[in-house]
Amino acid sequence: MVTRGFTGRRPPRPEAERLPPGQYLTEDFPVLQLGPTPRIDPARWSFTLREGSKPLKSWTWAEFDSLPRTRWKGDIHCVTKWSKFDTAWEGVTIDDLLAAAGIAAPTAYLLAEGYDDYTTNVPVADLTEGKAMVATRYAGEPITPDHGGPARLLVPHLYFWKSAKWVKGLRFTKVDEAGFWELRGYHMYGDPWREQRFTGD
C-alpha cells in the first residue's frame, strides 16, 4: 500500500544492502531495558552454566577475565527498528566457555539469564561455532552499565533482545522455553533478515 505523499529518504545503496527489512541506520547507540540499570559489584559477579537448576560450571570475574578472548566486529539490529554498523566487541565465545568448562552442550536450547531477572531463549546451535560470545568490552572499553556491562551476551545475527544485558549465566533447557519477551508476543527465534519480530512473523 503506497502512503500518499511519502517519498522517504533512501539510504545509499551499500548501506541499504546491509539493512534488514524494516530497519534504519543509527549512528547513536540506543539503550533499551525493562527497568533501572542494575548495580553489579564485580567482586560479587559470577557467571554460571546450568542444566536446568543444576550448576555445571561457575566463574568469578577474575577467572572469567583470564579465559581466551575473541574480537568481533559487525552490524547489530534491534527489533525497535534501529541497526548499527561496525560495532566492535570483545569477549569469550560460547565455544571457549564450553571448552573451559570441559563439557559439550547438554541440550539443544538454553535461556540466557540476566542479573535483572531478564531471560531470553536461544538455540545452542546459534551460539556455538563462533556465532556468539559473552562480551565484556565494546569499542575498546569495558561495556558501560547502560549497555549491559560488566558482561552481556552478544548474538549479533539475531535481533538484539537476544543479546541479554548483565548476563549472569546460561541455563540449558530440554525444550525451547520462551524468555521474557518471547512470552509477550515476540518471536521465539528473531532472525532480522526474515523480519521475525513477533510470533507468527
Partner: protein, 237 residues
C-alpha cells in the same frame, strides 16, 4: 500476533509547537493496555518502506480509535511526514498493540508513580487517562519534565485533572523557564512524600533522563523491580 492493517487518520491537530496529535481508526477486537505502542509503516511509490514505533496516548476505553502524539524530530524521515504531510482521510499501515512490559492495568492498583520527560509522557497519558476512567481510587502522581510551559503535552487536561481528580497529582518540572529546575533528588523526594510509596513506577523519556530518574528512584528506596522504563536514544542526549 499483530498483523499489518490499513488504518485511517480521522483527526489531526497541533498538540504543542513540536507535537502533532493524530487520531487513527483501528479495527481491534480486543482492548489494548495502557502503555503499549504500535508500529507504523510508510511506503513510497517505488516500494521503499520506513517503519517506526509510537506509543498510544489515548485510553483503552475507546477501542475504536487511538491517538498518537508524534514529535517532529530534526531531520525526521517519518516524524516529518506526520508533521507536514499526513492529513485526515489518509490511510497508513499500522500494527499493534505491541508491548507487554511497560503497561499498567487497573487490576495492578497503586499507588502509581509516572515520571515522563518530553514526549516520554505519551504512554503515561494513556495510563493516567485509563486510571481516571477505570480506577479513580488508585492514587497517582505524574512528575513531568518539559522544556517550557508551551512544550507541555496535554497541559490543559493535566491541569484540569490535577484540580478535579482527588486521587491524581501533577508535578511539572520546566527546565527552561525562569527559575526552572530539572528533576533532582529533592523533586523525587517531594513526589514520593505526596504520593506515598509507589507500588508501580513507570519512567519514560530520553535515555539520559530515564537513567538519571531511575537511579534517583532507587536511591530514594523505590524497589528496582517495581520500576519499568522505556527509553529513546543513546547514552548522550
Amino acid at each position: 500476533m499483530p498483523i499489518w492493517q490499513e488504518s485511517r487518520i480521522v483527526a489531526a491537530a497541533a498538540e504543542t509547537p513540536r507535537v502533532r496529535r493524530l487520531t487513527l481508526a483501528v479495527g481491534w477486537t480486543r482492548p489494548f493496555r495502557a502503555g503499549q505502542h504500535v508500529d507504523v509503516r510508510l511506503t513510497a511509490p517505488d516500494g521503499y518502506q520506513a517503519q517506526r514505533s509510537y506509543s498510544i496516548a489515548s485510553s483503552p476505553t475507546n477501542p475504536g480509535t487511538i491517538d498518537l502524539l508524534i514529535e517532529r524530530l530534526d531531520d525526521g524521515e517519518v516524524s516529518g511526514f506526520f508533521a507536514d504531510v499526513a492529513e485526515p482521510g489518509d490511510a497508513i499501515e499500522l500494527r499493534g498493540p505491541i508491548g507487554g512490559a511497560f503497561v499498567w492495568e487497573p487490576a495492578q492498583g497503586g499507588p502509581l508513580l509516572l515520571v515522563g520527560g518530553g514526549s516520554g509522557v505519551v504512554p503515561l497519558l494513556a495510563m493516567l487517562r485509563h486510571r481516571a476512567e477505570a480506577a479513580p481510587g488508585v492514587p497517582a502522581l505524574l512528575l513531568y519534565s518539559a522544556r517550557t510551559a508551551a512544550d507541555v503535552i496535554a497541559r490543559d487536561e493535566l491541569m484540569r485533572r490535577d484540580a478535579g481528580e482527588p486521587g491524581f497529582r501533577l508535578r511539572l518540572a520546566l527546565t527552561r523557564e525562569p527559575g526552572g529546575r530539572r528533576i533532582d533528588a529533592a523533586r523525587i523526594g517531594e513526589a514520593l512524600a505526596a504520593l506515598g510509596a509507589p507500588a508501580h513506577t513507570f519512567v519514560c523519556g530520553s535515555n539520559p533522563f530515564v537513567s538519571a530518574v531511575s537511579d534517583l528512584l532507587v536511591d530514594a528506596g523505590v524497589p528496582a523491580a517495581t520500576i519499568r522504563t522505556e527509553r529513546f536514544g543513546g547514552e548522550t542526549p
